[in-house]
Structures are given as C-alpha cells and as structure tokens.
C-alpha cells in the first residue's frame, strides 16, 4: 500500500492502521503529530493549516515512493489534515509496514522529516494572548534572513 492523503476531517488513525496490514510484514511503525498547546514560548489556542493541494499531493506521493525505494519497506502511507484544528487533534499520521522493524522505523522517520520540510503546507497559530502568526514566516519577514531564528530548527523541538 502506498497512499498520501489530505483531509479537512479528523484523521481516523485506526482505520489507516488497519489498511497497513500485510501478511508479508513482521511489523508496522507509525507517527502521529498532535496539535500542542505551546510553541516558542507562546501559549497556543488553536491552529489553522493551509495547503497547496495539487503540489502537496504530488510531493507527498514522491516522498512515500522514496521511502519504499530507500528502505525497502512494503507499505508507506501518510495523511495530513488541514483547515481549523484544535489542541490535541492529530495533524499528521504516518504509517510504514515492513518485513522487519529496523527499516520500518527508519522509513517512518524519513517520511515525517521530509513532509515537514518539503510539503507546501503552512501553519497559522492563534495564541492565548490574542494574536496569531504564520509559523516560520513572520519572524524572518520582520527581521531579515540573517536573523538567528532562521537557522533550521532541530527535529526534537520542531514538533507539530
């Protein structure tokens, strides 16, 4: 199975998981990205994701095909939600099935990392303080490209 999806509806992770079952596979690794209540010192109230659908779908499918080719996994799937999201909602789900666990973990990690840097999807955070901002955009626009916050963020803190 290889499938990339975009949806405005809540992601049914159990349904996606069931579709990964394959008798040739010894396991499955998954990642869920959740909407969290803070980012860079600000309390977050809710989120809005905007997507350039045509390009996100083609690029998303490309990432999944790369994961299968690079790591030799059997199945790879991903779905990203857009529109208005609330705290705790699943924003993105990745699932990978494989004969053995090692490649499943690696391919799953590859997919979410590439999704975050390559898909034309934008996130607007609405803060408890009343303001809002497009993540990764506003500060660089205000302070120019030499600013410290423009450096690539570490995966451990990039979160949803």
């Amino acid at each position: 199975m290889i499938e990339f999806g975009l949806t405005r509806e809540p992601i049914d992770t159990e349904q996606w998981r069931r579709r990964m079952f394959d008798l040739t596979c010894g396991g499955y690794a998954a990642f869920e990205g959740w909407v969290r209540d803070h980012n860079e010192g600000q309390e977050v109230l809710r989120l809005e994701y905007e997507v350039y659908e045509t390009l996100a779908l083609s690029e998303g499918n490309k990432i999944l095909a790369e994961a299968i080719e690079r790591f030799g996994v059997t199945g790879a799937a991903c779905v990203h939600r857009h529109g208005e999201l609330r705290l705790g909602d699943v924003a993105v789900w990745v699932g990978v099935s494989a004969a053995h666990r090692d490649e499943a973990f690696k391919a799953c990690r590859y997919v979410i990392d590439e999704v975050k840097i390559r898909l034309p999807i934008w996130k607007k955070e609405h803060y408890v303080a009343g303001d809002s901002g497009w993540v990764n955009c506003e500060r660089c626009a205000a302070h120019g490209h030499a600013h410290e916050t423009d450096r690539p963020r570490q995966p451990e803190t990039a979160g949803v």
Binding site: Y52, I112, P120
Partner: protein, 80 residues
C-alpha cells in the same frame, strides 16, 4: 507582455489581501516576477526564503515564463 496567473497562500495571501490575481508582465522568469510583486505588494520575504512552483511543479528561479503560466511563490512551510 504575457499574462501570468499568481496564487497566494498563507502569509502572502494575508499580505496581498487576495488569493489570486492575473498579472501582465515583461518578466522573463520567476525571479523577475517576484521582484515586481514584492515591490507592488510590499512583501517582506526575500526570494532566498522561498521556493517557486510553475504549473503545479517545483521549478527553478531562472526558468522562462510563458503566457498563461500559473505560478505560486511558496513561503517557508510548516507542515507536520
């Protein structure tokens, strides 16, 4: 002069105040067109922060533009 269809997303949609427009331009490539739009709409992001897509595919800043092309300037993304 050629007509180019521009779509705006996220920060750019907010800054421009609309989600698309058709531009008549002499610009030969996306870099030239972005410079025009940046001046016209006072866009804060430099081209070095962006990617560009023409007709729904990522492309280079110096590819030639043709009449009727659809272009999207892609501000820094934040999926996941």
């Amino acid at each position: 002069m050629k007509k180019i269809h521009v779509r705006y997303f996220a920060l750019f949609r907010d800054q421009v105040g609309r989600d698309e427009e058709t531009i008549e331009t002499e610009a030969s490539d996306p870099a030239g067109l972005y410079a025009e739009l940046q001046a016209r709409h006072d866009l804060g992001l430099g081209a070095d922060r962006l990617k560009v897509a023409v007709n729904d595919e990522f492309t280079s800043w110096d590819r030639s533009l043709s009449d009727g092309d659809r272009i999207v300037f892609i501000p820094p993304v934040a999926g996941g």
